[in-house]
């Protein structure tokens, strides 16, 4: 069987230097957004999804596990943060912490259950678990069902940064995104990340080398779920609501699509993919359900002809890993 990311080159020290350069360029570009007149709300939204897609990519690109339920972390962290901010009136930093903690606990439970099966079954299980959670949130009183939690106060971060100002909020979200991105970057270049890649390539061999692969996969799942939750907690401040759409299976599908378009198993691919898909939704919003049709077509085209994704193709052309 061909592995998912067959064509990616091994990471050499040289490649890490390339990646650091690209990272700095990306950070500078994003930091200059408020001076360019680009609508900051759009970029903030894209950054949240970019972090979500990066977290998802940690699992599929480096662990070989395709989760079809990553929206459950996004939505759960969103609900937890929103509840903490609005009902408990906690400050923003603690609100984020509550959301991340919620996603962490959820990933412990769902990881324990889903990691028992591999490949296609793992995808079906994560999808079913997220649907289970969707129905729970639909009925639970604290989520306010179809209405969602609305009008969430943004407050002052650490008592200093007034998040109601778009520019301040933008930089807080950007710092959050970059921190999450660097953490993922650190994870995939660590010995732990190398073992994960070994498992993806050939699990029986990794087992024969003495690695307890289930524990590695479980840890990867928890890291991925918690980071996805961090993205969900940040998104609460941008959107100022938490609703059922964030837990729905179509959201999980969108995360998969973003990563696929950008390039599975690439470092920067999910970021590019998130911006492409969010921009597409923005500009095609007037076309109603045709957006779904276009998204489906992108899936089909990517799988049939463009499996490396945008960044994967570029990296392949320059023979670098990005």
């Amino acid at each position: 069987m061909t592995a998912l990311t067959d064509d990616t080159l091994p990471v050499t020290p040289r490649a890490i230097r390339d990646e650091m350069i690209v990272f700095v360029v990306m950070a500078l570009l994003l930091a200059s957004v408020p001076f360019t007149g680009v609508y900051p709300f759009f970029v903030m939204q894209a950054l949240c999804f970019a972090l979500l897609a990066c977290a998802f990519n940690l699992l599929i690109g480096y662990g070989g596990l395709l989760s079809f339920g990553h929206a459950m972390f996004l939505g759960t962290a969103g609900y937890c943060s929103a509840h903490a901010l609005k009902v408990w009136a906690l400050p923003p930093e603690l609100g984020i912490l509550v959301g991340v903690a919620g996603a962490f606990v959820l990933s412990l439970i769902t990881g324990y259950i889903s990691i028992r099966r591999q490949g296609i079954y793992f995808s079906m299980i994560t999808l079913a678990l997220s649907q289970l959670l969707y129905f729970i949130y639909l009925q639970a009183p604290f989520t306010h069902g179809e209405d969602g939690i609305q009008g969430i106060p943004q407050g002052r971060m650490f008592g200093l940064f007034d998040l109601t100002k778009p520019t301040v909020l933008y930089y807080v979200v950007l710092v959050g995104f970059l921190a999450g991105f660097l953490l993922i970057f650190r994870i995939i270049n660590s010995p732990f990340g190398e073992v994960l890649k070994a498992i993806r390539e050939n699990e029986p061999r990794a087992i024969s080398l003495g690695y307890r692969t289930d524990q590695y996969k479980f840890l990867a799942f928890v890291l991925s779920g918690t980071l996805a939750g961090f993205a969900g907690a940040l998104k609460v401040f941008v959107a100022q609501n938490a609703s059922l759409t964030d837990v729905h299976w179509s959201m999980s599908g969108e995360v998969v699509l973003m990563t696929l378009v950008g390039g599975l198993g690439t470092v920067f691919g999910p970021v590019v993919g998130a911006f492409v898909i969010i921009a597409m939704q923005q500009y095609l919003a007037g076309f109603g359900q045709w957006v779904t049709v276009i998204q489906g077509s992108i899936f089909v085209i990517c799988v049939l002809t463009f499996r490396r994704g945008v960044i994967g193709e570029i990296a392949h052309y320059f023979r670098r890993s990005l």
Binding site: M1, T2, A3, L4, I60, L66, F68, I113, S114, R116, R117, Q118, G119, I120, Y121, S123, M124, I125, L127, A128, L129, Q131, L132, F135, I136, L138, Q139, W249, G253, V256, L260, G288, Q289, W290, V291, T292, V293, Q295, G296, S297, I298, F299, V300, C302, V303, L304, R307
Partner: protein, 287 residues
């Protein structure tokens, strides 16, 4: 007690759909190594084809029962020839992603033209009305759905487990190269298998049209429940899929009676429990 029997019947009907759909998924997975995410969309297409046949062509339910699976089956075979066949040799996950994309396209197109609301499909005259069984009132159409699905399931089981064609099919599942060496046209068999699985989904769609309305998203949530059914039952055995499908439908129906709040979630909760106790599924072999 009336309500209990009524829910039992609803459970059996849902169970029929679970069984027909998970059976199709299992047959397709056996030959193509693909989990067909488009199964729910193709089930929906079956119902829509029946609706078009009646309202545009004036063709009645009985012909739709035959024609809709054939039409949707041919559509499925075209999908297999033009797209799915190129995935041979790639990771299974690409099949899931591709068929998910196909499901989005099909559902999106139907939503554009028909919105999200349902359209009624009349119960055929011969199956209208009901019977008083003494302990409950049985709407004839509902009884028909259960019995007919059961017959189709058993026929499919017979086709695969007991006939020569089925023997080729099972052999090709185990070792396609060897079967090809014996002169069997395996690629054509794969196409036909996909058509068969898709046809079963479309048949379930036609059966459900008079009960659940004809809606573009009627298959979207259903397919996720069927995935859970497949995880519980495993895809190793045809009979296993049929029994698990019906059993879970009945359990869901019972839940509706005893604890309605959990009726949406009971199948997923059972999936979690099965995974904790027996990770390979009830009838499955290790994947």
């Amino acid at each position: 007690m009336q309500a209990l029997y009524a829910q039992l019947l609803v459970g059996l009907i849902n169970g029929s759909f679970y069984a027909l759909l998970s059976l199709g998924l299992a047959v397709i997975f056996g030959m193509l190594n693909i989990i067909n995410f488009a199964h729910g969309a193709l089930y929906m297409m079956g119902a829509f084809v029946a609706y078009f046949l009646l309202n545009i062509g004036g063709i009645n339910y009985w012909w739709a029962l035959l024609l809709a699976p054939i039409i949707v089956g041919i559509f499925g075979m075209i999908l297999e020839r033009t797209m799915l066949q190129w995935l041979t040799g790639l990771d299974h996950l690409y099949g899931l992603l591709l068929t998910f994309g196909i499901a989005l396209i099909v559902q999106g197109v139907f939503q554009n033209y028909f919105g999200s609301s349902g359209m009624p499909y009349a119960i055929p005259d011969q199956l209208k009305g009901g019977m008083n069984l003494g302990f409950m009132f049985l709407p004839i159409y509902r009884g028909w759905v259960v019995i007919f699905s059961l017959i189709v399931c058993v026929a499919t089981w017979f086709l695969i487990e007991k006939t020569r064609l089925g023997a080729y099919l099972r052999a090709a599942t185990e070792n396609p190269t060897l079967v090809r060496a014996f002169g069997v046209n395996v690629p054509r068999m794969i196409t036909l298998t996909y058509g068969l699985g898709v046809g079963l989904a479309a048949l379930a769609g036609v059966l459900s049209a008079p009960i659940n309305q004809v809606r573009p998203l009627m298959g979207a949530d259903l397919i996720i429940v069927v995935f859970a059914v497949v995880v519980i039952g495993g895809m190793g055995s045809i009979m296993g899929s049929i029994i698990t499908g019906f059993a879970l439908g009945v359990i869901e129906g019972m839940t509706k009676y005893f604890y309605p709040e959990a009726s949406n979630t009971v199948v997923f909760v059972l999936m979690v429990l099965v995974l904790l106790v027996k990770p390979t599924g009830l009838t499955g072999r290790a994947a």
